[in-house]
């Protein structure tokens, strides 16, 4: 078995905020194998977004190491991190984050403009990525704000795919979608998983998590085993009942 795509070892992340220090991650260790579809599940405020930002090289750990494809991210400067994001990472956001007035194709091509992929290859790669997420060709030249939510999120997934990243990071990708559309988007991720893509998806929804190969739980900045998670859920629901 090859080395893991993501190898996080005892990572801490401490913020300085107006209210004092916030210990958002407390010694998180996590590996993601190549071709795996991992779900990180946790309630809001659990530190899952912080973890996602670290995995996406948008942020660096206060303590601990993060190896992305064997490269220690903490040794890289801002430009090298940007380079890594441009070539090795793909992002899918809850709110899609498409450029509203730009066409679908332009949106998908955007990450390539920050790489050295020659201009002549870009369109082809964007079309391929759009085909992979199943968006019909007639939408390619539409402005992205003319699309439905499900279509927008598929465009966003295509954008995450276009640079052939080592891993696709999806932060609540179905959070702004209705049930049926969410299912379609999840099917798209599942399809990419079958094509051998590595996917890390963050959610608070167990139904969404059921699409993944493996789920880890995060609570108060710590990753929990399934038993610990069950115990924690039971405890919180007991407390909840006690209060009513």
């Amino acid at each position: 078995m090859s080395a893991p795509v993501i190898d996080v070892r005892r990572v801490h992340r401490i913020y300085e905020s107006a209210a004092g220090y916030v210990h958002a991650l407390k010694g998180v260790s996590l590996t993601v194998a190549r071709g795996e579809f991992l779900c990180i599940m946790g309630p809001s405020g659990s530190g899952k977004s912080t973890l996602m930002n670290l995995l996406g090289c948008l942020d660096t750990p206060t303590l601990g190491t993060y190896l992305l494809e064997g490269v220690d991210v903490s040794t890289l400067d801002d430009d090298e991190l940007a380079e890594l994001r441009a070539t090795r990472l793909g992002f899918v956001f809850q709110s899609f984050n498409l450029l509203p007035r730009a066409t679908v194709l332009r949106n998908v091509v955007l990450p390539l403009t920050y790489t050295d992929v020659p201009a002549s290859e870009r369109r082809g790669r964007a079309e391929q990525a759009l085909a992979a997420v199943g968006l019909p060709q007639e939408f390619f030249d539409h402005r992205s704000n003319e699309l439905s939510g499900g279509q927008m999120q598929r465009v966003a997934i295509a954008r995450a795919l276009v640079n052939d990243p080592a891993v696709i990071l999806a932060d609540e990708p179905t959070g702004n979608l209705d049930q049926a559309t969410g299912q379609m988007v999840l099917r798209t991720f599942r399809g990419l998983r079958e094509q051998g893509k590595t996917i890390v998806l963050i959610t608070h929804d167990a139904e969404v998590a059921s699409w993944a190969d493996r789920t880890v739980h995060i609570r108060d900045g710590r990753l929990l085993t399934d038993e610990e998670e069950r115990a924690a859920v039971a405890a919180s629901s007991t407390r909840g009942r006690g209060r009513t």
Partner: protein, 406 residues
Amino acid sequence: MKARDLAYETFSALDANRGRSLLTVLGIVIGISAVIAMTALIGGVKQAMIGELGLNQARLVYIQCWYNRSMEVSDVEALEAEMADDYEYVTPLVWSGTDVISDTEKKSASIQGVWPSFFEATGVKLVSGRFFTEQESDTGALVTVLDQASVKNLFGNADAEVVGKTLRIAGAEYLICGVTESSGAGGSNPDYVQLYLPFSTCCSRVQGFTTVDQVYGFAREGSDMDAVAQRTTDWLARRFAVPEDERENAIWVYTMASTIEELNSMMMSFQVLMTSVASISLLVGGIGIMNMMLTNVTERIREIGLRKALGAKSRDITRQFLLESICLTMVGGLIGMALGYLGAFALSGLAGSLLGYGEGTALTPYLDLQSMLLVAGICVAIGVVFGYYPARRAARLDPVESLHYQ
């Protein structure tokens, strides 16, 4: 990020804010059009001066001296010989006047006795025939050169074939050997006639004495005209034994270059004034641009976060916003140049009459490439100066925070 992608981003961003962008660049437009209008007008005046005077005029030195006696031909010859390093030639002029009789007319003429080198020094242009030769000049031949206006007044038609014909001047027959362009001095006065005669002929046959009224020195190319004038003054002071305190009254050495210089410096101070007014407008315009760019950055915080997440480096973001502000100022500059140039045309009639070029002779505004490039450079500089802070601010945004900015 490649130049083409940058250009695309810039274009689409500006296109999205067309109305706001245009309003914002108004300050630049006004400032630049004021500068351009002024520069074009002054350029037009200079062009008109050069056209009117001829380039030779810049090398011409007018020399007169009177101290106990007038200048003589021998003085001119000595000056030419002794200051050969400074002058290509020195040539005398004597003014005279007498009646001139053609086949049909009899007019009173103003006569200038000159050496052949006079024509070259003053840049008088021939229309037909030739100037008189050194030999004719030396021997006092009976030849004459006249201008087209005089031809018209003597022969009824400015284009009449008169070379080879004769004129009767002071009782002798003179062969017309050449016709020059009209000097314009006489205007359309039908009694005006002006002739050139060889200097010696004029002295001996018309004037009756040999003093020189005016001397022209034609300086060597590239001379420092002020220095030449100074050396000439010194030379004359020695030759005429003029005491130090009499120099001002006795010696008159005057260069066209110094006139042009004076006019230039007058216009320069005018331009400096105008430019300082315009630069206030440019400053205000620049601040407007900065304001708009800051608004732009704030409006697009999420987009900036997204771009960073997708792999944009800080310098990609800096360049993108910097190029936007440069584009804004350049568009403003181009509009300003066009408006300013048109404005110069509108003002040229007024400026022409103010400068004494007369009613009908509106001058043509003139803009050289150098000033246009300078203005373009100023626009880019304003774009950089006032766009840098917003662009850096955009580039420094934290990707995590900006992605979740509401």
